[in-house]
């Protein structure tokens, strides 16, 4: 068991080593943290299932350069977000905004939770009414 845990931990280490940037974009921690947050928030629209932080394609590196320049120029998060969505739409954001089109997307976890709780409650109530020593197959 502990051997498997060790292997798993090693696998995590190698994944981290695959990050694309070889050196920090900024010398100071606050701006580097903002940069890291943004490159993980933006989707690589070319490869589509990776953030620009993790993609080796040319467009992802161009967009990382863009984020770096905008942070270096002192632009706000709102400005960076607007720059990206004006060009690539909300799809570029891994955290889609709450709009009429995304209500269902955002409501889905809550809806699924209600449905699950409702079904579970029904089953529990029904089972609790059944005689304890009865065979569940017969009760059903």
């Amino acid at each position: 068991m502990s051997r498997w845990l060790t292997l798993f931990a090693l696998a995590l280490v190698t994944t981290a080593a695959l990050a694309i940037d070889t050196e920090a974009a900024f010398p100071d921690a606050p701006r580097q943290a903002r940069y890291e947050r943004w490159i993980h928030e933006l989707r690589c629209v070319q490869c589509q299932n990776a953030a620009i932080a993790d993609s080796p394609v040319g467009l992802a590196s161009d967009l990382r350069r863009q984020v770096k320049e905008m942070i270096a120029a002192g632009q706000t998060d709102e400005q960076i977000k607007n720059f990206m969505t004006e060009r690539y739409g909300d799809f570029v954001l891994y955290d889609p905004p709450l709009t009429a089109r995304t209500y269902l997307l955002w409501a889905a976890p809550v809806l699924l939770l209600f449905i699950t709780v409702g079904v579970a409650a029904r089953v529990i109530v029904r089972r609790s009414k059944a005689p304890i020593d009865s065979d569940p197959e017969e009760a059903a």
Binding site: L59, R87, Y88
Partner: protein, 181 residues
């Protein structure tokens, strides 16, 4: 009884939905990778870039104003661009709308040789060596083709290789003269 049919019914409905979507993808009617451009209906981004064929000369997008133009993003590294090249040549010849090329992150000499070998459909080719203009146009994979109105508004965008059929269906209706048929 319904407790047995409800899950089976839900499963069948989901299966039917997936089959429908997969068939639409197979027929080429649905592209799950396509991102609708937020630029449609808005002013086209401006640019000033060196000409591919004469790097000492700058191409300023402002001189394109006043008449519609096709804006085609391509590169010699892009296989699909080769596939659409003959369609681009036909459109440039017959539609009466100038085709402006954006050579995206390309090798200048290779691009010039490519046009010499395959024919040049472009009225102008701007060289976007650092990819900034492509980002401004929301480009995420060549080839991409835009139609810009005389007022400078983006009317249409096609992602992937262009064909005469796609031109007729998506682009020609925006123009008075229909273009190649």
């Amino acid at each position: 009884m319904w407790r047995y049919f409800a899950p089976a019914g839900a499963f069948l409905a989901l299966g039917a939905l997936f089959a429908f979507a997969l068939m639409r993808i197979g027929e080429g009617k649905l592209d799950i990778r396509e991102i609708k451009s937020p630029l449609i209906g808005r002013q086209a981004p401006t640019f000033v870039l060196p000409s591919l064929t004469d790097p000492t000369r700058q191409i300023d997008s402002h001189v394109l104003a006043g008449k519609p133009y096709v804006f085609n993003v391509w590169g010699t590294w892009c296989g699909e661009c080769r596939a659409e090249h003959s369609a681009l040549l036909a459109i440039a010849r017959q539609s009466g709308v100038p085709v402006i090329g954006l050579d995206w992150k390309d090798d200048q000499q290779q691009a010039v040789a490519y046009l010499a070998a395959l024919g040049n459909p472009y009225a102008e080719v701007a060289a976007d060596s650092d990819g900034r203009t492509a980002i401004n146009w929301g480009v995420y994979g060549a080839p991409e083709t835009f139609l810009v109105s005389a007022e400078g508004v983006v009317l249409e965008k096609h992602i992937g290789a262009l064909s005469i059929a796609i031109w007729q269906q998506k682009f020609a209706p925006h123009l008075k003269s229909g273009g190649p048929s």
